[in-house]
Amino acid sequence: MNHSKKFIRHVLAIAISIALPTVASADAAYDALKQQVEMMQKQLAEMQKALEKQQVKVKEVEANTISRAEAKELEHHVNAASEWKDPNTLIHMSGYADIGYTDAQDEDGSFVVGAFAPIFHFQYKDMFMLESELEFEVEDDGETKVALEYLTIDWFVNDYVALVGGKFLSPLGQFRQNLHPSWINKLASAPPGFGHDGAAPVSEAGLQARGGFPLGNMRANYAVYIGNGPELVTEWNGTDFELDGIDAEGKGADRDGKKAWGGRFGLIPFAGLEFGISAATGKATVTSIEVTAGTAPALANEQARDYDVFGIDAAWQYKSFALRSEYVKSKIGRATTGASASDGGQWKSWYTQASYLFPTTKFEGVTRYTDFDSPQDARDQKQWAFGLNYLFASNVIGKITYELNDGQKGAIADDNRWLVQMAYGF
């Protein structure tokens, strides 16, 4: 027993002596390992910090860098923006056209091709502009009629004056120069007397100065012109001559050598209101005969007659309501010599028009009263016109107009009419 105890003691002693150095060695390895881990943790933290800094930098770079696709799109926009940016010459076409249907009291209803009127603009810098309007119309027999409504070269001399040479719309009054295009005229017809053969001059060939200027707190505009003047048409009824009408569309030559002068002054006291006064004077001579019976004698030694025009106009607009009125009188003096010597005559007309665009709709109601008086009783006309328009857009307008006409019994001027029109301004 004692031997066995001794043996165990010896074994334990040997085991302990063997184990003790091993334990000491493990502690050292642990410490080293710990140091390494701590160092790695530190390095990892530093790397994380560096990575975060790098990520911030990357975001900044991304924010200030565009992709190839974006660069391509930008390039496209830059190229597009530089195209036609500031040429010396601009070319532009605008104008208007209309089509419709007309049904008069004593005539069959007809589809009508109103007019196609392209307007061309060629502009050199801010100095010159060539303006021209053509008018294409399909006549009753299907023939197409082409007319040069106007052709001018405008010189913008300064901010207040432009000189206009060529064939221009008559600056007398408002309707002929500003309101006759079908997309602007709120009814499907012109007021009697303000069309192509009425009291108001249509156009003139000559030289014109026009512009606008401030007048205290108000504004003013003006136009003065000198031109070839109108020619006169006389009617042969089989026994004698009677003055038939004034052909007041700009002539390519002054066949009687008598010029006409005229102009208009407009005053705008405040926005939306304008008053205008117009006048013209000169001489006019009979150059053509309208034969209604028999054979007319030839014109010879015709006397130049006095020609005078006077007009006033006013326009007022308040939000959706617009009111305008215009009066014009053209007077021709008597001729005592020449083959067609006859009394003079005067053509006068006035109209008042009111229109209202119903709020939150595209419907517009219009009414107009016109009284046209001429030397020919058959042409005299008093007219009430009522219209309902639909504005598909500001420049695309559908119109239904009813004219209640009062003229000489049996004359066309006495026939009431329905007019449907689609007008497009471009």
Binding site: E131, D159, G212, A220, A223, W261, T361, K362
Partner: protein, 203 residues
């Protein structure tokens, strides 16, 4: 011998006066003498175009088309050269479509995200007043009435901001308001400020 009557003398004198005026003034029209102004142009557009015809939407034409059109209307409407340049400035600014920026705010912060330097009233008086009026009731046919809380102002700020930003055509109006009222310089903050100001009309 040819004679000149009194009326002819008067007209001749008038023409000579105009011609003298034409060549005596030094304000030349060539070469864009003085630049146009957006706000003045908006007033010219509002005060003159509707006197004869329905006011056209600025978005109908490109810059070069508006340029020639404005000179054509200088002749028709009796505008001065300066008024013509002003209305060109307004129309060529107002015909720009609302377009998503190629470089978005998320990538490159722009002025849009900064606070407005102008009050809502200042923005309104600079950009909106020509068409919407000093009282917010509108000066043009079809312009909405901001004096009623039941009108467009019944909508949320976000919707109103979108309408101003992108442009908007009110029901029944023959034309649309251009994007940012035509003033492309407006920031998002300016638009929020002006929308806030619009609400003061209905109080």
């Amino acid at each position: 011998m040819k004679t000149i009557n009194n009326s002819s003398k008067a007209l001749l004198a008038t023409m000579l006066t105009v011609l003298a005026m034409a060549f005596s003034t030094t304000t030349q029209a060539d070469g864009h003498a003085k630049p146009g102004d957006f706000t003045r142009g908006a007033n010219v557009w509002r005060d003159n175009c509707g006197r004869c015809h329905n006011i056209r939407d600025a978005r109908e034409l490109r810059d070069d088309q508006w340029y020639s059109t404005a000179f054509h209307m200088r002749m028709r409407g009796g505008l001065t050269g300066q008024e013509t340049r002003d209305v060109i400035a307004f129309l060529t600014s107002s015909n720009k479509p609302a377009r998503k920026p190629i470089i978005t705010d998320a990538k490159a912060p722009t002025a849009s995200s900064k606070a407005s330097k102008l009050s809502g009233k200042a923005v309104y008086n600079q950009t909106c007043i020509a068409c919407h009026g000093a009282d917010g009731k509108g000066t043009l046919p079809g312009a909405p009435d901001f004096s009623s809380a039941k009108g467009p102002l019944s909508q949320t700020d976000d919707i109103l901001v979108k309408h101003v930003t992108d442009g908007f055509q009110s029901p029944g109006s023959p034309m649309a308001m251009p994007a940012k009222g035509g003033n492309t310089a407006l920031t998002d903050a300016d638009i929020r400020a002006v929308v806030k100001y619009l609400r003061s009309f209905s109080k």
